[in-house]
């Protein structure tokens, strides 16, 4: 089986700082992959290069067998790579419905009708439990609901790869439980790449875990293997609260 996503020697330097240093990474279709690591390990820089928000200094990114290294971000989105922002980035002045209608009208490019858009928007909102808030201005949603809207916008793109950048940050425990259910649901139709600090969430969701440290991959394996890995414990888990 060909991997859905692969990077070869991917690097990004900011001045003298090697934020991501020569990373070889593979992700198989259908996986839920968690990326963990201490702050500044290069996780967000890594997924930003995958999504096309920043250009790599060197190396290559291959998505579904095709080299996408030089491809602009918006084309990658159309190819099926969706990215949800770490810092909530929604259209605060537009309605929840309009927020989701934007990605929907893109995926329905060929012969979209008003009813088709409406159906697709409501599906995405129902999956994330926001349907009854469709006509509120997005900026008036609670923080937890804004995070869900962020995911709904990603879902509405019908991605093959959904990148979630710290999705549970700032959520209450009850919201996190719902979120885990949602991600499992998403994973039935898309591959999920998840950056996450909350270890219980990672352990429950991930099929495999990749550990970043100082811009490199320190370890990779099943949750159990990572839990047992001494190097990981020293670098990360040991110092975790």
């Amino acid at each position: 089986m060909t991997p859905l996503l692969a990077t070869k020697g991917l690097s990004r330097h900011f001045g003298g700082l090697r934020a991501v240093d020569n990373v070889d990474f593979t992700l198989m279709p259908g996986e839920i992959r968690a990326v963990i690591g201490p702050n500044g390990a290069g996780k967000t820089t890594f997924v930003s290069m995958v999504s096309g928000r920043i250009q790599p200094s060197s190396g290559a990114i291959v998505f579904d067998g095709a080299d996408i290294t030089g491809m602009p971000a918006y084309v990658r989105v159309r190819q099926g790579i969706a990215y949800t922002f770490q810092i909530t980035s929604i259209y605060a002045n537009l309605s929840v419905y309009a927020n989701v209608a934007l990605p929907v009208q893109l995926t329905l490019r060929h012969g979209p009708s008003k009813s088709a858009i409406q159906a697709a928007v409501m599906t995405a909102l129902e999956r994330t439990g926001l349907a009854d808030r469709a006509h509120m201005p997005a900026g008036q949603l609670s923080y937890g609901h804004q995070r869900l809207l962020e995911v709904a916008m990603g879902l509405a793109l019908k991605p093959r790869l959904l990148i979630l950048d710290e999705p549970t940050q700032g959520l209450a425990d009850s919201e996190i439980d719902n979120f885990i259910v949602l991600v499992r649901d998403i994973a039935r139709s898309a591959t999920v790449l998840l950056i996450e600090h909350n270890m219980p969430v990672v352990m429950q969701l991930a099929d495999r875990i990749t550990v970043f440290n100082a811009g490199k991959i320190l370890a990779e394996g099943t949750p159990e293997a990572i839990r047992e890995n001494a190097a990981v414990q020293e670098a990360y888990l040991g110092t975790a609260p």
């Binding site: 999504s51 928000r53 602009p72 971000a73 918006y74 084309v75 989105v77 159309r78 969706a82 990215y83 922002f85 980035s89 929604i90 259209y91 605060a92 002045n93 537009l94 309605s95 419905y97 309009a98 209608a101 934007l102 990605p103 009208q105 893109l106 979209p112 006509h135 916008m153 793109l157």
Partner: protein
Amino acid sequence: MSEASPAKAYALHLGVIALLFALSFVLPEYYHGLLARIMVLAVFAMGYNMLFGYVGLLSLGHAMFFGAGLYGAGLAIIQLGWGVPLAFLVGIACGAVLALVIGLLALRTTGVAFMIVTMMFAQVFSLLILYFATWTGGDQGQVVPQPARVLNLGATSLDLTDPTVRYMSALLLFSLVLLVTLAIVRSRYGRVLVAIRENEERTKMLGYDTFSNKLMAVVVSGTICAASGAAYALLFGYVGSSFASVQYSILPLLWVLLGGAATTLGPLIGTVFMYYVIDVSSGYTSAYLLIVGIALILLVLFFPKGILGTIRQRWLGWLP
């Protein structure tokens, strides 16, 4: 963004057009002529609003697009002796091409740099008009001769210098641009433009080519402004460099701010209102630019949403 019934919005706009039509028969001569001019300039403001209101790009150089239409149409008649319809199209084409070139360059910048770059390109444009004075008439400008401003339609001919023909031509252009604007704003493309204004980075990550969308908006905006300029040359018969000066880049900004940015009828209301204020104040001071200055500051300080923007926010959420 409103999802109200389109019928209500179209009814309102058709009502405004009908009102303007009816006014033609009741207004005294002076105001009749003034309103024709205001409608043409409101088209300029609508073009500006397309970019500033809906995409959030603040240009300080739109006088060059108005000027491109004005000189394109005017010189086609004066220098080349072409007819009215062709001259009008030449004016519009000049604006569209200029907007494409300026858009390709200026859209590489954002925010304050975009404002300064557009201002500088407009400055170059107005200096070029002065430099090629033998062709353009320099700062004296040129009059488009009255016999050339006649539109021949088979057996009948329309004299654009006739007040009624002039008023109706202005109204026709105004109505067309108003309805086109309304259609764009309500379309899927219009929603993408607003999304770019609200959060460009997010829009990119939803799969939209924001650069191309913005470029398209600059071209549409520039073309509408050029249509206004071309109509001005044909209807009022004067082509002058003052219309390409910085001041004519500031005025549409003022009209749009006053009427309400990102409202379809705001540009008209702002233009009418500003002309009214200047008309009233001309009894007290000849320095009408003083009024412009004070209005700009008061607007940004106390009234940033303008007349229609405030009405929409407080009472009529469905206004497009």
